[in-house]
Structures are given as C-alpha cells and as structure tokens.
C-alpha cells in the first residue's frame, strides 16, 4: 500500500479522466514516476521504439501491446490470419477443414483481401473471375473511414498498378499502402439500413491468451437506406457505418446517434429469425474474435506491462454470417450521445478494474487472473489456461457439428466462459 496510483495520459478524454479521479489516483507528467499511462498509439510507438524507447519498471502499466499493429493494421491482420490458417492446414488440424469449393469451413471470416500495390496482379486475377463484383479500398494506416472508397472497375485503381512489376524489396511508404477487399454487398439490413457491430474486447495477455468481451456492444446504423446500386457507390452515407462519417449526414440524430444495443439486435433477430440461428450467429462472432487473437498471439510481443482494449468491427451479411472487418487499437472514447457517454465511462471503469487490480499500484508480475466479481460488464471470452485444463479435443468435436449436450445451452453466469458451446 505504498501510496496512490500515479497516472498519465496524452488523450484529453473525460471518460478516462473521470475514472482516474474517482479512484483517487494522482495525475503526473510523462517525465515523472508514473504507474499507469493511457497512451495513444503514437506514444506507444515511442515507448517501445529502438531509438527513443525505455524500459518499464515492474510497477508500470500501459494500455497497448508494443506491436499491436499486427492485429490492428488492416494488411497485417489479414497476413497473420492467412499465415495462421496455412499453419493449421499443415498440421492437419480439423479447424482448417475446407469444403468442396476450397473455402475454409471454420476460418473463412475475413473477406478476400489483397495488399496494394504488392498483390496487384493476384488481385486482378481474382477480379476477373467475377467482374461485376464490388471491392472496397482502404488505406492501411488510417481510421474513422478516412480515404475509403468503393470500386467496380479496374480502371479506378490504375494508380496502384504502376509498381506491380517491381520486386518486393522496394519499400512503400506506409501512407500509400492500401488493402482491397471484396465488398460485402449483401449486408443484413434492418429497417432497410446497413449497420455494423462494434464490440469491445480486452486482452490481458496473449500467452496464455486471456481475453474478455464487453457485453454492451452496439450497432451503428447508416442514416440512409442501403442500396447496392452502382450509381450510389460513391455515397458514403449508404455504405460506411463510421460515426465520424454518418454524423455529417442530414438525418443524423443526436439523441440516439444511430446506435442500437446488441441486446436490441438479439431481440430483433430472435423474434424474426428464431433462437437457434441467433445463438449460432453470436457464437460465431465470439469464435472469430478468438481465432483472430490466436492468429496474432505467436507474433505478439507479450510484454507483461501491457493490456489492450480493442474495438472490433463486425458486419453480418444477409445469410447471418459474421465477417471481421477490422480491429481498432484505439477505439473512440468520444461520446456522441448521452447513452454513449455512460457506456464508455463504464467500459473504462470495468477495464481498469481488470487491468489494475484493486486500483492499487500495479505489479506487472501478477498472474492476471482477476476474480469474477470485478468483471463488471465484461465476461470471459477465452481463457487459454482454463481451456487447456478441459482438454483441447472438446473444441474440435463440437466444431464438427456433433450434438453439444446440456453445457452447450445459453451461458448463465458471468464466471463461466462464453464459449462452452464450441470449446
């Protein structure tokens, strides 16, 4: 009990500062002795960089993993997932099973993606297979929907073809690197509008993997009715769900902010589609989140001073299949509505309760196993230690579709893992 936690942040966000102050923590500057630093992604780069970095002491905790970009940069995420799948295939794991057309049965949750300009030729080959399809271009390093556009003609991305013949040793400036993915033009629509899911996932350690899912995620709706019509490919209000974009739309409403709770979504889907398919959808969502974390776990620097709260973006298509769109290292802490503010305040509160046990000066050597009571609105998504205790073969058996038994029914209390259905 050696005094109060000293905190620093380089992000002026009230949901953060209010949480620190309510714990009686003391604000200090970066150059002083601090215990807890909630930093932006630029700062984490400096802390762990070869030139400007410094060693963290045992009583210091930060909110990012050093190389989080393995998961949070669009191109690296795809690379890691592709690598992970190939590894499983080589091992002969049943998880990597494919169907007759060569699609992965359980690991096909990222739309076909290529890096540009590096994979330009491969992309063209794929594009020509179905020339009427739409693709979405996203800059690798940007956020909030900036720089994103849709294409349906090769001519629209001529720019990225000029370096296609050069060798891969030519370094590309990260600003120009793009990913191009097959656009999901059949999203599930509610009230005729497209939406995506924002889910918060807290990772306290990658090896062993321990992650938590925040129960209060939300849907972000477009203000304009969805249409796949080619004449509206340029209309970002139809296609991009980012609040940063939608809030400039004419019909943006500041009371609800175009957001729905995940429980609303669940109620709607259960009422209109049935309970089994809805439960299956949510199970699949949990599954793809865990698989994405497992994919990057081997390459993550599992620094014990770190934890991270990710913002997962998921889109559900009209066949009720969830797709992982991207993972955000720095999910927005700005509040667009009153409900939003409450949600984000509670999110940070519960995150701090797990990452900094008892609100006391941290010791990064602790076992990172918080008691059930402090989880708040989080529930355990996956705990590798627990899972290994139960035997890994259970996971494989249930995945291949055998009957799941009583344990597989809906999760009841917060302590048990959410994924009993397929563990």
């Amino acid at each position: 009990m050696a005094g109060k936690v000293k905190w620093v942040t380089d992000m002026e966000k009230s949901v953060l500062i209010n949480n620190f102050e309510k714990r009686g923590w003391v604000q200090v500057t970066e150059n002083e002795d601090w215990n807890f630093y909630w930093m932006s992604v630029q700062t984490i780069r400096n802390v762990f960089s070869v030139e400007t970095g410094y060693r963290l002491s045992d009583d210091q905790i930060v909110n990012h993993f050093p190389n989080h970009y393995e998961l949070t940069r669009k191109d690296l995420m795809v690379k890691n997932i592709k690598r992970y799948r190939k590894e499983l295939e080589k091992e002969g794991s049943p998880l990597a099973e494919k169907d007759e057309s060569g699609k992965y049965l359980y690991l096909d949750f990222v739309p076909i993606t290529y890096m540009l300009p590096a994979d330009y030729n491969l992309f063209v080959e794929e594009f020509r297979k179905s020339p009427s399809s739409t693709w979405i271009m996203k800059p690798c390093g940007k956020a909030q929907g900036k720089g994103i556009f849709l294409i349906n003609k090769l001519s629209q991305i001529k720019k990225w073809s000029r370096d296609s013949k050069t060798s891969s040793f030519v370094t590309q400036s990260t600003k120009e690197a793009y990913v191009i993915s097959l656009y999901i033009n059949n999203p599930l629509l509610i009230g005729g509008r497209k939406f995506d899911l924002r889910l918060y996932v807290l990772v306290s350690t990658y090896r062993p993997l321990r992650c938590y899912m925040y129960k209060l995620g939300f849907c972000r709706f477009c203000t304009v009715k969805y249409t796949p019509s080619t004449s509206e490919l340029d209309n970002m209000f139809v296609h991009l769900t980012n609040v940063a974009i939608q809030k400039h739309g004419e019909d943006y409403n500041h009371i609800h902010g175009g957001k729905w709770t995940v429980s609303n979504l669940r109620l709607y889907l259960e009422s209109t589609r049935g309970k089994e398919v809805t439960s299956r959808l949510f199970d699949e969502i949990h599954w793809i989140i865990v698989q994405s974390l497992k994919a990057v776990a081997p390459v993550m620097n599992n620094d014990k001073h770190c934890f991270e709260c990710y913002g997962y973006d998921i889109i559900i298509d009209d066949k009720l299949k969830p797709w992982l769109i991207e993972v955000n290292a720095s999910p927005s802490l700005t509040s667009s509505t009153a409900n939003d503010r409450i949600l984000k305040y509670n999110l940070i509160n519960d995150t701090l309760n797990i990452a900094v046990p008892n609100g006391e000066i941290p010791d990064c050597k602790w076992n990172k196993s918080p008691p059930k009571e402090v989880l708040g609105n989080y529930e355990i998504l996956y705990d590798e230690e627990l899972a290994q205790g139960d035997g890994a073969d259970r996971e494989l058996r249930s995945r291949s579709g055998q009957s799941l038994g009583p344990k597989a029914s809906r999760l009841r209390d917060a302590g048990r893992t959410v994924l009993t259905t397929w563990k």
């Binding site: 509610i190 005729g192 709706f221 009371i255 957001k259 209390d413």
Partner: protein, 501 residues
C-alpha cells in the same frame, strides 16, 4: 332460460352472417367440393364424412379460430351499434386530390425512403395530444348520478368523476390468476439465475405444440404466461387470426397504390408524429420508414370503419365543399375514420421488432388497433376503455396506497396526470422493448387492457418511497420519468399477489 337461448341463437346468427361474407367461407366451400373426389366421402353419409374430413385436415380448426376471433370483439349488448358504411365517396374525394403522374412515379421510387421526403412540417401541429384528451375525460359527468355534497370515505378523490364499475384487487387476482406466485412466468422465471429446466424449456416446448395445432384459443391461454421471443410473432398472428393469403398481400399493395396516387392532409400529421416520437426513440428509430408505410396505408383503409360497430365513437365526417350539413355529401375523413394523435405511431413501432414483412406488419397492426388500441383513445364505458382504465388506476391507488395518493393530491400532483400518457400509449416508448412485448403478451392473453392500469399502479407502488418525498408535480414527474429499467412481470406479481391488502 328462453331469453339466454334466444340471445345465443342471435349471436350465432350474427357470426354466421359475418363469416359468410369472409374469405374463409369461400375456401371452405371450395374444399368441400374438392373433397367429393376423396374415396372416404360417401353419398349416403355425405354430411358426416365432409365434417370428418374438415376435422382431420385442419379446416375445422381454422373455422374455430375465426369464430373465436369474432367473439373476442363481439359487442356487449348494451353498446349502441353504429352501422358501418363503406362509402364510395372516399374514393371520389380522393380522386379530387389526385397527384400528377410525374409526382406519382417519383413517390413510387421513394416509397421505401419516405423518412427523407416529408413536406414542410412546421405549419402542422398534432391534432391533439394525450394531455388534451385527459382534460375531456376529466370533465365527463353522468347527469343522472347524484354525488352528494358531503365527502365520505367513499368519495372518489381522483380526476375521473364517472361512476363506472371497476375491479378491486381480489377480482383482479381472479382475472389474472395465471400471473400468480406459484405459476411460472416468462419475464420472471426465465432470468439468468433460474435454470431453464425448471420452467422455460417446458414452456417453449408447449408453445411449439400450440403453434403446430394452430389453435387460437389455446394460444391465447398459453400466452398468459408470456411468449418465448422466437415464437412470439407466430403466436400473436395465431391469436389475432392473421394469415398471409395472397388476397391480403394484394389488399395491402392496393392501399400502397392509393398512397402513391392520392394525397391526404392527414399524411402530414403522420409524418410529424413519426418525426417527433419514433425517430427519436433509441429502440424504434431504425424502423422509421416502416412506420410511414404502415400508417399511410392505414389511414386509407376503409375496412377499419367496420370496427365502429363496436366502438362507441363515430368516425369524423367531412363534407364536400359547399355542401356542409347535407348527408349525401358527407364522407368519412380520414377514410379509415381514425384521426392520429400525438404518439399514435408508437402503437406500430414495437411490432416492427416482430414482423419485417410490410403486409404482415400491416395486418397485425390493423388487427391490434381494431381489437385493443382504439379503446385507448375513444370515450366509452367498456371495461377496457380508457375511462375505465383511468378509474381503475385511481381506485387501486386510493384504496391500496392511500397515503401516497393523498400526499400526491396535496402537492398538486394527481397521479393520473402522470400515468395517463403511459396507458394511452399502452406503455410503448416508456418501457424497454422486451418488457413491453411481455406486457402486450398479456393484453392478448387476457383480451383486456386492464393490465395497463394495474401496471401503472404497480409502478407508483414501486417508487412510493421516493414519491412520498417530493413536493411538486414536476418532482413527481422526474421520479417517474424513466421507466426503461423496470421489469414488468415482477412488478405486477408483487402488486397483485404479494402486497398486503
């Protein structure tokens, strides 16, 4: 005995008359003819064989459901029957307001996007709001009733001064017996702490059986204990006797065409209402466009006029210009006879969580309206009418929470002033949607709106401690402003079955 028998035969005759004009009758006839081909139908025992065939093939069940459906809205003998008039005039009138062809085409394209295409609304105010309606009700008096000058403990101290008969808690306990403490409920016994084997699983299984049997009456009995989310849409359709035949879809499409071709002044009221209420609602904003579709069609649907046979109100009339007072030039306006008030769209909004196919959504809403919702904004003496509900609410409060009631009255916060808007909207927009649906399950199950008054009283009972400390109407409103965290079934159960009376 003789009187009862003749009453019964009269009712039977009326229902038969009604059903003879229905689609079901034509279908049954067709089925009967077709069945003659079947080997088991013999000429000697034609009648019995066809009856047997109907029973086995499920057609008898359909007939049963139809009869049951008619019975549920059958007027009580004391109600005056206003003859429904399906006039041709509304069509003539609407033709006078026809839109030009170009505009029609544009509107057809925009049909799905009306949320962004409304006219300038700043000139329109809602015709009336629940507050205005309450003032009317407060001033209702029965001229034959002598109140007496002296106040006694019998004197009703609430706002409603019409002496209708309302139930007390023992009678309510009898009516709502399935909500008792020893009966399983959805909304209580399906919470996360309770293992599903105790009640929920079995209840779901029974629900599925009820749906397979397609029995309206059984469904209505079943739903008193609440409906599982996945079965609710079908159960409500079964209870309301809605099935989606091609004729129904065609009828809806026809209404849609009317919207596109003809303008109605009431459309602007609808736009305004949706914009003011559902568009700002956390749960329902997503369905804004569906609401326009349903309500604009609804206002043109003359079949709604038939409910005025058992609605003591009459549809408002309008007269062709220059012919004021001449009956042969009178038309019902709007065509369905219902003027939307502020908050009307909230009757439709919760249904959007259950039905995503517009014509089905429309049919369900229409049936819900002509069976239940109309009673919430028309003046009648029916036990489910809004007047009775208000009186029931006030009586419950005065009888079982007298201290609270007197306190609120003293500080100028008559409880009905706060709870009226909840009841008029059947709590839509005040409760969380999952809770609202559990409440509406019971409305369907008991074929009565009395539960709204009971819930209103239960809410006051729940927040009694805080309410005792307030000293103004505004403060009382604040205590009761947010109902979104309330759990409806425990509140009802405690109020009815666990409070010392």
């Amino acid at each position: 005995m003789l009187q009862e028998e003749s009453d019964l035969s009269l009712i039977i005759a009326q229902i038969v008359q009604k059903l003879k004009g229905s689609n079901l009758y034509a279908q049954l006839e067709r089925q009967a003819w077709a069945s003659l081909q079947r080997p088991e139908i013999k000429l000697e025992s034609l009648k019995e064989d066809i009856k047997e065939f109907f029973k086995i093939s499920g057609w008898e069940k359909k007939l049963q459901n139809a009869v049951y459906s008619e019975l549920s809205v059958f007027p009580l003998p004391s109600h005056p029957a206003a003859p429904p008039e399906h006039l041709k005039e509304p069509l003539v009138y609407m033709r006078k307001a026809q839109r030009p062809v170009g505009e029609q085409k544009e509107l057809l394209n925009k049909w799905n996007e009306m949320g962004t295409d409304e006219p300038d609304l700043s000139l329109f105010r809602p015709v009336y709001a629940p507050k205005d309606f309450l003032e009317v009700l407060i001033n209702l008096r029965n001229p034959n009733y002598e109140n007496g000058d002296s106040l006694s403990f019998r004197t009703h101290l609430g706002l409603i001064q019409v002496p209708l008969k309302v139930k007390d808690i023992p009678e309510l306990k009898e009516l709502f017996v399935e909500l008792g403490l020893t009966t399983g409920q959805l909304g209580i016994d399906d919470s996360t702490q309770v293992p599903p084997e105790l009640f929920e699983n079995e209840h779901v299984r029974i629900g599925q059986k009820v749906l397979t049997e397609q029995d309206s009456a059984a469904a209505q009995q079943y739903i008193r204990q609440g409906s599982p989310t996945a079965l609710r849409a079908e159960l409500w359709a079964l209870i309301l006797n809605i099935s989606s035949h091609p004729e129904d879809i065609l009828y809806y499409e026809q209404l849609k065409t009317n919207v596109i071709q003809h303008d109605l002044l009431v459309d602007s009221l609808i736009y305004k209402d949706v914009k003011l209420t559902a568009s700002n609602d956390d749960y329902y904003f997503v369905f804004e466009d569906y609401l326009y579709q349903v309500l604009l069609c609804f206002s043109r649907d003359t079949s709604v006029l038939s409910h005025f046979a058992y609605n003591s109100a009459s549809p408002p009339k309008s007269y062709i210009r220059g012919k004021l007072g001449l009956e042969e030039y009178a038309v019902f306006y709007p065509p369905n006879g219902v003027i939307p008030f502020h908050g009307f769209s909230m009757y439709v909004a919760p249904l959007c969580f259950l039905y995503h196919e517009p014509s089905k959504l429309y049919q369900i809403f229409r049936e819900m309206y002509v069976r239940f919702f109309f009673r919430l904004h028309s003046i009648s003496s029916h036990p489910s009418g809004i007047v009775s509900l208000c009186l029931l609410f006030e009586t419950l409060l005065q009888t079982y929470l007298p201290q609270l009631f007197y306190h609120l009255r003293e500080i100028g916060a008559q409880p009905l002033r706060i709870s009226f808007k909840w009841m008029v909207r059947a709590f839509s927009g005040y409760l969380a949607t999952d809770q609202l649906l559990l409440l509406w399950d019971r409305i369907l199950g008991y074929n009565s709106l009395e539960i709204l008054a009971v819930l209103a009283a239960a809410v006051f009972a729940f927040r009694a401690v805080n309410l005792m400390e307030v000293t103004s109407l505004a403060a009382a409103e604040a205590v009761l402003a947010d109902l979104s965290t309330l759990k409806v079934m425990p509140l009802l159960q405690i109020f009815l079955f666990a409070t010392v009376t």
